[in-house]
């Protein structure tokens, strides 16, 4: 056996379930597509009668308690990292062949030992929440076929005997070829390879011949190797933020399992662990642990975390967690080699962050007018790093007096006669109104009862000659600004 494959069936679904402890034991389906076209892509064993390709509406009909989820790229990335980390414990030559599928070049390793290691690897991954099947054979493709059929480990000794009963889908025919072969009554690889290869070529062309070769286990290829992850760091953002220790420990265990495998793949252990909890109030709770004994033992790490977290109370909810393991043999570092010299932008952002810390982050940024008719509706956006070109002069430059807005507006008491303001009384101005124009009316967001707004605006000149813009909302009158 020269190659091994670790294959996680329904990988995307496994990743989603692994990332969310609440899905444990529930019927879950992963859906593809949106709206009416949404179909089940993968379904857990608990979702009885729900099969891939089934319309989601029908899936609900068949399994009323079904939980449907879309694919989660973050969870998949995390599970992939774990899978690859496990693969690197078997050999340094690893290919990330596809989602939930990695191929390992075992050439030069002890076959018997490799088989045992493969079994151990499957157990370890299962404990970490990824159920894999492992196959080992003479070619990458055969190893993949073996993995697909494994329960959970399959080592192929006789390729022909192994391939014969496998279903045709294993060799991944194109849709057209699958349809043609179904019409022919070909259901297994053995049935396909029983047909003359050249006759297949005459009917299904070159692609058909490749399919035949795959079915015969003849196809081989060169692996596209990947590098092992060596940051020994893992982090996660919580959405929504968490308040209890349980989900935190769940996540830390997932981190620990992955990082520990990566350490082992790199033949190192952790000397120190650094745990950082990012809080909703933007503070960070950080703690470094020097392990009494450098190790890659997940349970030992978890004991340390558990002991610490039991005594921790944070002022705000946790929005993120990061774990970094410092290997016992840290890599050399060449300070300054990649320095860009672009210090000003950094300083700018740093200063901005400092300002934000004083006035609040929501008060820092570049004001941008929102796409709404609501007066003075702006938002603060992250300042642009480049200055935009000046806009063309407007066709009609502003005319008349300029409005100086009061932010916030000044509450006022306004007297009216014949539904027109006649006097203002506020901390800013207390005067009678000589003349006014209005009302001007604006309103919006009627579709959101809690956010619906309407405002009636008047421009009023007081006896003193000042001109104010008054506004009446559901909350009452206010002075919005001064026109001058």
């Amino acid at each position: 056996m020269n190659f091994a494959v670790l294959f996680a069936p329904d990988f995307a679904l496994q990743a989603v379930r692994r990332a969310d402890p609440e899905l444990r034991g529930k019927p879950v389906a992963l859906v593809l597509g949106e709206g009416r076209k949404a179909v089940v892509a993968q379904a857990s064993a608990e979702a009885r009668e729900v099969t891939p390709g089934l319309a989601v509406t029908l899936a609900f009909a068949r399994c009323p308690g079904l939980v449907v989820r879309p694919r989660d790229p973050g969870a998949e990335a995390e599970a992939t990292r774990l899978l690859l980390a496990a693969a690197f414990t078997l050999s340094p030559r690893v290919e990330h062949t596809d989602d939930g599928w990695c191929t390992i070049d075992l050439q030069g390793t002890d076959a018997a030992r490799s088989a045992d290691q493969l079994r151990a690897c499957v157990v370890e991954l299962a404990a970490a929440g990824v159920a894999v099947r492992a196959g080992a054979a003479a070619t990458p493709l055969l190893a993949y076929y073996a993995a697909q059929r494994a329960q959970p480990v399959c080592v192929v000794q006789d390729a022909k005997e192994f391939l014969q009963p496998l279903p045709l889908d294993v060799a991944e025919p194109t849709t057209t070829h699958a349809e043609i072969l179904r019409g022919w009554g070909i259901a297994t690889l053995g049935q396909l390879t029983a047909l003359p290869k050249d006759e297949i070529g005459k009917r299904l062309g070159t692609e058909g011949v490749r399919l035949w070769e795959r079915a015969a286990g003849e196809a081989t290829r060169v692996l596209r190797l990947v590098e092992a992850e060596k940051t020994f760091m893992a982090e996660w953002e919580y959405e929504p933020p968490i308040e209890s220790m349980e989900p935190l420990l769940f996540r830390l265990r997932r981190f620990a399992e992955c990082v520990a495998l990566e350490l082992r793949g790199a033949s190192v252990v952790a000397e120190r662990l650094s745990l950082a909890l990012r809080l909703e109030d933007d503070n960070e709770h950080r703690r470094d642990f020097r392990l009494p004994e450098p190790s890659a033992n997940v349970e030992a790490w978890m004991r340390v975390f558990h002991a610490h977290l039991e005594s921790v109370t944070t002022a705000a909810r946790v929005v993120g967690v990061r774990l970094v393991a410092l290997p016992a043999r840290p890599p050399e570092k060449q300070d300054g080699l990649f320095e860009t010299g672009l210090r000003d932008p950094a300083l700018f952002w740093e200063n901005l962050a400092r300002v934000g810390a004083i006035v609040g982050d929501d008060c820092v940024g570049t004001p941008v007018v929102l796409d709404t008719w609501r007066p003075d509706a702006i938002t603060l956006e992250k300042p642009a790093e480049t200055v935009p070109p000046p806009e063309d002069d407007p066709v009609h430059p502003p005319r008349g007096l300029t409005l100086r807005r009061l932010r916030p507006p000044w509450p006022a008491r306004v007297e009216c006669a014949a539904e027109r303001p006649t006097a203002i009384d506020s901390d800013l101005v207390c005067d009678t109104i000589r003349e006014c124009i209005g009302p001007f009316r604006l309103g919006g967001q009627w579709w959101k009862p809690q956010d619906a707004w309407c405002v009636e605006v008047w421009q009023a000149e007081t006896t003193s000659g000042a001109i104010y813009q008054l506004a009446r909302t559901r909350a009452g009158w206010c002075v919005e600004g001064v026109l001058d």
Binding site: G201, T372, F440
Partner: protein, 1033 residues
Amino acid sequence: MAYTELHARSAFSFLRGGSDPDALGRAAGHCHLPALALCDRNGVYGAVRLHMAAKEHGFRALVGCELVMEDDTVVPVIVATKDGYHGLCELLTTAHLRSAKGEGRVRWSELAVANGGLIALTGDEEGPVRHAWLRRGANAADAAGQKLMRIFGPDRLCVELQRHLLLDEEEQNDFLIDWARMNGLPLVATNGVTHATPRARNVADIFTCVRAHTTLDKAGRRLARNGERHVKGHAAMAALFSDLPEAITNTERIAERIAFTIDQLGYQFPDFDRVPHGQTQIEYLRRMTYFGAQQRYGSIVGDVESQLQRELALIDKLGFSGYFLIVWDLCAFARESGIMVQGRGSAANSAVCYALGITAVDPVGRKLLFERFLSEGRTDWPDIDLDLPSGDDRERVIQHVYERYGRRGAAMTANVISLRGKSTMREVGKAFGLPEDVLDRFSSLFHSGDYPQTVETKQQLKAAGFTDDARLEVLLDTCQQVYALPRHLGQHSGGMVLSAGNLSRFVPLENASMPGRSVLQWDKTDCEDLGLVKIDLLGLGMVAALQDAAKICAARKEPVDFARIPTDDPAVFKMMQEADTVGCFQIESRAQMATLPRMRPQTFYDVAIQVAIIRPGPIQGDAVNPYLERRNGRQPVTYPDERTRPILERTLGVVLFQEQILRIAMDLGGFSAAEADELRRAIGFTRSDERLNRMKDKLAVAMSRNGVSAEASAYILKSLASFALYGFPESHALSFALIAYASAWMKVHRPAAFYVGIINNMPMGFYSVASLIQDGKRHGLRFLPPCIERSDEDSRVDSTDTIRLGLKTVRGLRQKTIRDAVATRQKAPFHSLEDFLQRTRFNPTERRALALIGALNGLSAHRRAALWRVEAQDVDDELFRGVPIENEMSLSPLEMMTHIERLRADYSSLGFTVGAHPMALARPYLPDALPAETLKTTRAGARVKIAGSVACRQRPGTAKGFVFVTLEDETGTANAIIRPQLFERERLVINLEPALVITGRLQNEQGVIHVMAEEIAGLPTLGLPEQASHNYH
């Protein structure tokens, strides 16, 4: 002077207006406006409705239009004179007919020529002047204004000012005021109305989102700034323009200059232009009528003579001779072209129509009420509907009308597609930003049928996953406002309007989506309201099927003349009494089948009653059970009033037909013929109940005055109300009964031709080809599968009991390739598969389909041998192209298909099998499920389990939420009734699973068998092929 609104858009501007013309009319009436001009976008779609509303609410409806110009600016024009209106219609027709649907643009050069009789406004922000001012400044605006001045001159161009309580609009108005004064043009105030009331602003916002494919949250400044663009009265507008009083007074001055209203169209129905020299139309009509009557009746004496004389005199008096001749001419064209045609509806009340061969029911012999068709007091034109074979033949007749009367002389009536339950929620939901999956789920839960929903919309929305309680009420309220507003214009199923001269002078014409068709901008009620004459050329699948079947019989030397088949055939009635009516016109539905054993038709008239009785009208009017009970002698025959005896005698004292209601109104209510006709129109008016309620009140008073008891009056009024829900006129029922009887006769006496006629004209009727074949087999027919050596394009009769299915039943085969292959084979038979492949042009997918269903079996050992060979033809691969293929017969290494494999192949490529029903294969896995045929002999009340493919799902509006499901198995069909609660619980299973297992109590009432469902489950795991079903139609 009072303010007149000169610029309003309705929802007929399609997504640019938030209220329908009726609502605008109500608002105008409420505000006491003297007049309102409806300027819908590129059309006069809402003009008639506003005109009718104006009559009701006491103001003048002015006709206008927003012309979308080639540069995308919009010029509002108001029609001042009749010539102006004709010019506008021609202008719009020209713009629409050269463009794709909804994309018509008027050219400035055309407007420069065709503007007489029109008054133009400079428009709102989309108008040429403001549009230019906003984007390019004052000089550009002046240039745009000058262009309008050159076209309309200072007398017919007004500068439009709008004030919507916005801070920044005065700058534009200042420019417009200065420009108007500089050019000596009048200022007019308008409110640029887009919705009737402030509240309807929501609808306008929703439509903005729909138009822009966005949500309310993302639409931003595309939404309205406030709700001020509603209909306002004089006081409000005068206050807004207190500084410019002339802008208000000018509106009325303009209104005073407008002489035209939409009822002054000057429309005329064309004369019949082929009257022999020296004869008038009525003379020619009389001659042809008497000639026809002679042939129909043998001799013209007694009742026949007096009826003909009476009708012809009335036709002459009302000036309808040309109309009858034109319809007669159309029928003649159809017959000469070998196309079956039969008049239906109230025309069947006319002896003239019968004599002319327009209809096939003898109104004299059957004592039908002529006044239902035509009466002296009638102001509108009689309604003649022609049933034609659906498909190409009907299209030939329609195209003949276009050729005969010109592309601008005839057009299809519009059908206004309105927002209904599901579509309303989809559009509004999308605008609210509801996720697609929630909307999809809602659609799955919501039924569009004509029955009341058994679950509140609110609960359905929650069940669909919309849990935002705060927005729920607003969403529902908005849906309610949007509901029933027009979404776009479709075409009526067959109504064609003809005109003397160009029809496009009276109403703008547009291209229909269907090539070769044009459609006018009004629906049938609008046309009727304005006196535009419509002839309905309706397509019936069964007419096409019977026509084909007759041709087959003639070719087989067993000719059938439907006019002469005996109408008292016991075998036909026996089949009906046994509800063995799959495939028979109008009496094949589950509800009809459930009534036939109780009704037990014995005469042709019974068939007419059978056709008419299973309708919402009689069902809602509680007419069905009393009639059946009286018929079977279990209830005495009584009459609501003794004076109704002559009217209701034929229907055993029960009101079943519209004519009976009209006659009662005349006899007991003292209604004149004209009043009876008004009542008929009120019954048929579907847009609102108001007309009918008025007539009901009038009739109630009249009956009371004539001494009709309160109880009898209540019964009659209830029957009247129920007919508004859809009930048949007797003449219509008789016309349909002719077709129903003919189809049943064919099923009994020419079964092979009957099934072939239907199969060749699918889709039609209630049942799929799969169900029809199973039914045919139960009647002793043999169906042979499609075969490349023997089949034609269509299915055909090979012998009295053998049908060869046609190649067009194979899914995915192109018609032309089939025709070419059949033609090739007719020159010389295919002598081998190789020969077939060489001489035909089927593509690989088609060849594969043919091999898969066994159509090539005659040329190869078996299906798979054929599959093996056809794949080697023209392989699309450079490397293998041209490599020689050995003799396929000896070399195919593939095994023969098993039974189940053949079944699956048949269903995948044909949708049916000529072999055993799929349920026969599932039977061993369902040992406790009873076959359908055994239900007849099972004890009523027993708890039974039935299983089968779903053939039909129904939820009639009259069934109070009950659902009826028909399951088909290898022995026949079984019907199940599902209670509303069970349906709501298992809705998705019932609606989505192709095969079901239903457990419940067996009911057997007078031979009508149902299973009252208690448990329902899908049958998904047996891997049986899916069968098409007829759902909720």
